[in-house]
Symmetry: C2
């Protein structure tokens, strides 16, 4: 069965170009790094989930670290761009906060592996690889909204930096704890459309009430 998939994948891949092969590797790598983190991810496992051999992965990405940096870079560019394209200055702090959180959550819902990779990155690598890419901007955006809201009195006198971190934690923690939460929702798929929709609603309601 695994062999069959491998062959099928390989056959179709041969008709495609170099970039398609790299994309195929990156997609499988995201899964593997999300499950195991940089230190424990297995190149062989990634190869097994594509039609590509282990040697090919080294050919394209040099080493495990190179592959890891490639998925971080692609993830950051593709996934986080929507946040930076928001124009929040014209909105009230409350509206801006809702808009920002809604956008962040919709990114996470479409890329549920991203929080796991970010979490592993924080724990195993202390955000080493992260900083080379510049994820910091995201906190800065949220902090700015909170500062504006405190200044004009629409939010309570909260600390913007701690609160920004808490808000991101709320959005992200559902994905990290999904396996542990499973026993609270027997028979439900935690990454199914219904549960994700509930998480988004509940998180936004909690965040807007909290400020």
């Amino acid at each position: 069965m695994a062999t069959k998939n491998k062959r099928a994948s390989k056959a179709s891949r041969n008709t495609r170009d170099r970039e398609a092969t790299k994309t195929e590797i990156l997609d499988a790598a995201v899964e593997e790094f999300a499950r195991n983190g940089l230190a424990n991810a297995r190149i062989e496992a990634i190869a097994a989930n594509t039609g590509v051999t282990k040697a090919m992965i080294y050919y394209y990405f040099n080493n495990k670290e190179g592959l890891y940096e490639a998925i971080l870079k692609r993830g950051f560019n593709a996934y986080m761009q929507p946040l930076q394209e928001l124009s929040l200055e014209t909105l009230s702090p409350t509206e801006a906060l809702e808009e920002f959180v809604r956008c962040l959550l919709s990114i996470l819902v479409r890329n549920p592996n991203w929080p796991l990779i970010m979490c592993y990155e924080a724990l195993q690598n202390q955000g080493r690889y992260y900083k080379r890419i510049g994820i910091n901007n995201i906190d800065a955006q949220l902090i700015a909204i909170l500062e504006r809201g405190v200044a004009d009195g629409s939010f309570r006198p909260l600390d913007p930096r701690f609160t920004a971190n808490n808000i991101i934690g709320i959005c992200v923690f559902y994905f990290i704890s999904r396996d542990g939460m499973q026993y609270l929702f027997p028979g439900k798929r935690m990454l199914g459309k219904q549960m994700l929709q509930l998480h988004v609603e509940q998180a936004i309601a909690l965040i807007l009430a909290s400020v």
Copy 2:
């Protein structure tokens, strides 16, 4: 220097008993498992941080998994007991919530490695070892408080299970993201008394406002 510490530790250990040696190993193991998780923790690193040899660790705990289960068990018993000893039934939902969260946070502040171990456990092992111990009770306690508050109208019509998870996420996420947050607080020690005190205040204020 490392050798000196090792010798000093060893010398003093020899005067103590078997249980003291096991405790010394467990303390070092907590550090190592918090940094690296079960899969990536190194028995040799644990040995290096005690006066105990690698072989001794195997002698006392059989294998890496045995050592891991021992720290989970000890951590759960010693650290989580205060939560179960709370008598919250006589308090109003709001008071009970504050009491519960304050107790949880004071446990985390005294054991800042615990959230990291819990997080690794969720990511790497999908909470496999967890469940053998019975950590589930903690969520159940919090969910009960939230249900009571919704029923008597002191809380908004929130979903108790999602909200319980979000609340725990707020308490825990600070510890997970501490290295990433460092750049927001240059010169501060994220696990210092001052910063931890701020986290506790900010988290409680946010949680109480949010329900």
